[in-house]
Symmetry: D2
Subunit: 410 residues, 4 copies
Amino acid sequence: MTNSAESGRTGVFIGGALGDIAATMVVGALAIRHRHASPLGMVSDQAPFAALGLVPMDELRFGGIDVRRGKLRDVARTVGDTSRTFSRDLLDAVAPTLDAIDADVHCDPCYDCDAVRPSYSDDSLADVVESLRDRLQHFRRRHQLERIVMLDLASVEATPAPVIAQSQLRAFEAAVANDDRRAISPSMIRAYAAFLEDCAYVNFTPNAGAEILALQQLATDRGLPFYGSDAKTGETLIKSVLAPMFAYRNLEVMSWEGVNMLGNNDGKALSDPDRRTAKMSNKEELVPRLLGYPVHSGIDINYVPSLGDWKTAWDLIHFKGFLDVPMTMQFTWQGCDSILAAPLALDLARFSDFALRENEAGPMKHLSSFFKNPLGVEELAFIPQFEMLLRYAQMHEKRHVQNGKRKESA
Amino acid sequence: MTNSAESGRTGVFIGGALGDIAATMVVGALAIRHRHASPLGMVSDQAPFAALGLVPMDELRFGGIDVRRGKLRDVARTVGDTSRTFSRDLLDAVAPTLDAIDADVHCDPCYDCDAVRPSYSDDSLADVVESLRDRLQHFRRRHQLERIVMLDLASVEATPAPVIAQSQLRAFEAAVANDDRRAISPSMIRAYAAFLEDCAYVNFTPNAGAEILALQQLATDRGLPFYGSDAKTGETLIKSVLAPMFAYRNLEVMSWEGVNMLGNNDGKALSDPDRRTAKMSNKEELVPRLLGYPVHSGIDINYVPSLGDWKTAWDLIHFKGFLDVPMTMQFTWQGCDSILAAPLALDLARFSDFALRENEAGPMKHLSSFFKNPLGVEELAFIPQFEMLLRYAQMHEKRHVQNGKRKESA
Amino acid sequence: MTNSAESGRTGVFIGGALGDIAATMVVGALAIRHRHASPLGMVSDQAPFAALGLVPMDELRFGGIDVRRGKLRDVARTVGDTSRTFSRDLLDAVAPTLDAIDADVHCDPCYDCDAVRPSYSDDSLADVVESLRDRLQHFRRRHQLERIVMLDLASVEATPAPVIAQSQLRAFEAAVANDDRRAISPSMIRAYAAFLEDCAYVNFTPNAGAEILALQQLATDRGLPFYGSDAKTGETLIKSVLAPMFAYRNLEVMSWEGVNMLGNNDGKALSDPDRRTAKMSNKEELVPRLLGYPVHSGIDINYVPSLGDWKTAWDLIHFKGFLDVPMTMQFTWQGCDSILAAPLALDLARFSDFALRENEAGPMKHLSSFFKNPLGVEELAFIPQFEMLLRYAQMHEKRHVQNGKRKESA
Amino acid sequence: MTNSAESGRTGVFIGGALGDIAATMVVGALAIRHRHASPLGMVSDQAPFAALGLVPMDELRFGGIDVRRGKLRDVARTVGDTSRTFSRDLLDAVAPTLDAIDADVHCDPCYDCDAVRPSYSDDSLADVVESLRDRLQHFRRRHQLERIVMLDLASVEATPAPVIAQSQLRAFEAAVANDDRRAISPSMIRAYAAFLEDCAYVNFTPNAGAEILALQQLATDRGLPFYGSDAKTGETLIKSVLAPMFAYRNLEVMSWEGVNMLGNNDGKALSDPDRRTAKMSNKEELVPRLLGYPVHSGIDINYVPSLGDWKTAWDLIHFKGFLDVPMTMQFTWQGCDSILAAPLALDLARFSDFALRENEAGPMKHLSSFFKNPLGVEELAFIPQFEMLLRYAQMHEKRHVQNGKRKESA
């Protein structure tokens, strides 16, 4: 474990850099860097992770791609105003740095990169890969970056045809060469380019990303860490906290119905049946898998424009206890999506940077508590998932102390 | 670990045997024994505890004391009808066995034993102890019991003067001899008599019970297990499940307000300010202790007669996330108190019986997940508490397997 | 206004006589008649309607048709047990009378009469009409009935082709003669037969019933009262009570989202997209019509079997006030559908009987407060609708007093 | 009814001019005047009242007294920022006008004028009256006001001794002369001074104000309109909308429990048991009075600082329907208190000004829908109360049309 101060700058290259979460994350990172805000909401800022020496806000550099054109400042202003989250004063304070970042945010030749306003391109998939690699190389050189984390925050994409899900890398590369847009989704391209450029890759979205075998193989071969998918920020988080209690107490959940209402771009995209498939299945399977038996577990995702970024979820839990008596619990969650997601995105960037630094290759299973669909981890309950992260930190801390002692004694 | 089949009968001697929880517990135990009901709601019935060979329903015998006079069948009928919990058919099926238990339920010379309709007695404390020991001896002989667990389900008592909380056994016994009713509360007498008669003691209530040093000492000296206090059945349970999530995710809880409405005897007793002190402090301290910082955490307990046994709780959680944005979660819990509590009381009787069998003396800290105020355990979060119970079961299972191997090889 | 005591018996002929609402209604009417239950939940039992001399429970006789075969007692037992509504004792007390009614409940040659388990018949529409008229004639003779109200409680039917909605009676009769099952729905047949037999007709369901012009004309020509449709029992009722407040206070409702969960046959039928159309449009148009401007007003109806008859609705109202500040109200309604509906069905039978007695022909607009889609009434707010009923009662009371005086002076 | 354009300027003299509601009201009035905001939330801005020609925002002049010293701009900034209600941009736009109003806002010699930080004064009650009359005279002259409405928005005061509640004016004046501060509360002084200076008086608070007989007599004698008390802005409003539905539908409310949480000065003041008496009784009596029978109707008002001005109320309605089946409704109201109250305060000022213009003396009973405790009005249900206001407007409109015709024909 090297000292972060010596470890140089880290780039965070964002897929979907002009989205609400990205803008909130960058504003927040700058606000924290300039002491205009506390790091509240960031998991990685807490005591158990202090000894890891995670990269500080000052050493992060942001860039990325988006299908839209625009300025981060404008996105941030819109997000802040419509959601009544951050004040104009805060935005003014970070605006110059924000504007400087625009130079590293590119409108990318991307097919169907954005769920809401798709843009089509004449470039072949191979062209897109090439272009993205150029962007990453340029980003690395320009900021003299030691490491880059590709942070995928793009919109929900249509589910790709599953033809290459279990294929070898060779087959994947053939599909790219053949410009097979049905099989290769934009998030796969982002993960692919990231690995070719020795970046870590984190998939915040329900998209495929690095989940396919070929890409996992590529990352492992090149010694790169990656993880995903579908960040757990609201209703699903609560489910993964509450459901184990019903299991442990032997209370039989008959029905667990969840209704999600939201009015942001994500909500708009999810109102398209094609795009909601991935998201829905991550959400619907959760309760039965957590409890270990079939449960009537419906999920509604309703687009309610007036709510904007304020996701309102209502859950009804109908369960049976002693002598088969039915009882109910219900909860309402009113959280601002970008405010909940942004600090987790920063956490994931920092933990991924640490894994890069430590030369840890493969899926970062210790990050399972961040995801609805944690790659390669069976455990879906939040607390045990989080304990995996705590153990990871303890293990590194211990090694660090031992290394320290060894060095001292040397 | 002996086989339960060989281990003989176990008596469950109930303090407050004519209360709602007791009646529901006995009806349920009989219904399960006669296959009229599943053991839903019982923690101890689940797979991880199968290897312990906990005492089966058939081997349990019930008896106890109450300040009221009455028949279990009548109490059960009233509870079942007013709360619409168990059917008349179920009650009819177990009624004969229920009636037989009446012979072991005594109206006890007890001072202020019942919070709602206190009854005063001319007997001295020493007399009360003597009488209770006689009851226990008689109960043991009559049913040829191998072990007895004193299960304290009595109503909330007024908080005793704290003069002997830290005293030695000698001082406690002097206070009993001097008939000092200000210092010695009925629950202490029950625990004291239980230990003198080599029973385990479990305190389901917020009362003092075995919490005072002198009684813990007595139990440990005599090699007896005990535990408490204040069973965690509803709103507090949920708090101890949810609060860790806010901590781990670095979301700052500003206020956690809880409102409890209930219409049973417990609710009536708690509407008396003198009696609610113990309960309230167990509940109010929880959130700040779980989170590790001061939180505005008000608790209302309102007596709403029409709700009967259906405890309705509403909690408002007002928390701050990234960039200090305030968000809210609220939940409503509608649970039937006796239905939630009764199976846990059975669990505690079974686990206590097991500890007696295994000659485990002192506080049964592995039972912390059952209590709001777990004796000697700092951990207040439900999941880690439950993991303690799982580890306890694994440890015993392992020992059992090793013993088995040793025997085989012998 | 004749005295009810002199006015003879009234028949209530139920479409869907073996449904949950019908069974609950009949059990309740008998329980009230025999003083086993209070008339709680019945609008017509209240003081403002006392002077009308509405038909008492003793004078009501029940009969009807259903697509299923079965005994009322069995339906009632199932409803009472699964919904934990009425006790076995109550059911036992009314069982003999209930059994006697079975003789007047017929399995009817009906095409697709029941939404859940459709039954097809070889009988032509003309046969069905004939058979139904026979049933009504027989019912009238057998019980020496002065008047009959056809009370339509059948399941949701698929929306009929709208070809004859605006046609004259002649065209309707031609379609019946031509056996045009696409245009003529079962509820229309029930209304048609009712009118031919001089019965009042009340449509409790979202089905077409007497809404088509031809049938309204027939009723008016024959001097018969009728009304509907789609009884307002739960979430929609609350909407029609609350929405006017937002209007009067000039609070702009941006979104009013409603989620309905239910597990009874009605819920099952409504999970069929074809059948839910009628119901949904009655519900979705309500808020915008009540407020007078477009509102995002989504409705979900989810079939959650474990809830049975306990309809649980959650509504989120997102509104804007002074300086455009967004605020929210949410409510949860947990009501037992048959328990809410049954007394209203009795009310409608009694008010319809009264209208028959008073020779009032045409739509009974004073009953608008009972319906989601009140025929010929623009007012959708509950309180003003109810005030129409109060004025109707006052008007009759006044006339009665004047008639009384006139008679006296004569 | 004179044309508002010809009718000259109206002064609004505010008791508690530096409170949250006052600041929000003034900012809003200026924002509307300068077209920076819509008049959303103002009842008086709606179509049914258009023909009354109520005083427009341009003709209103603001002034008042407060126990605190301060600038409106600072109060407004704090309110807007902590409650995230109005933006800094909006505030900047109205700031100059706001600053000009400061000259008419005085720190008044007032005893215990403000519940939270009471300030004591050596001035006698007679001095206070004199000083207040001077302020009003000065305010009138300085702005050439045609009419003044005293709008009482001050904090909750301790309940005065009831000795003069039923006394004649002479006794009241004697108590003032004798400096009897136990009997005469600050709000009475404000009403008294207002009437002596020919102002209308509106009491937005639960304080006594003009409720005592002597002051009502004075107002009537001097031909002045007045009204109150305790504005109905949130939970109580909803109660007065919903309760009639339960009555009309013959659903017996067993318990209606309300929990109010708020963190503003009002909440702080109400956490003082002495001050909450008035407020609580207005709230607790409501449901039983609306329903006409005794109902268990508890009210909690909890001070939760983090909520600030965002009043969060949770109500549980436990009711019985057909066959005595218990059901529940619950609602959560999350409203910003000052945002809900401010437009109503403007409404009351405008309607009071209209009454002054029309020379209507005595209690303005047509304003009952605005108050929890409407003076002299038995009707507590919101809709019928509002219909009184609609009829008042229609009556004036009709007269206006007739007058117009008369003039034309003249």
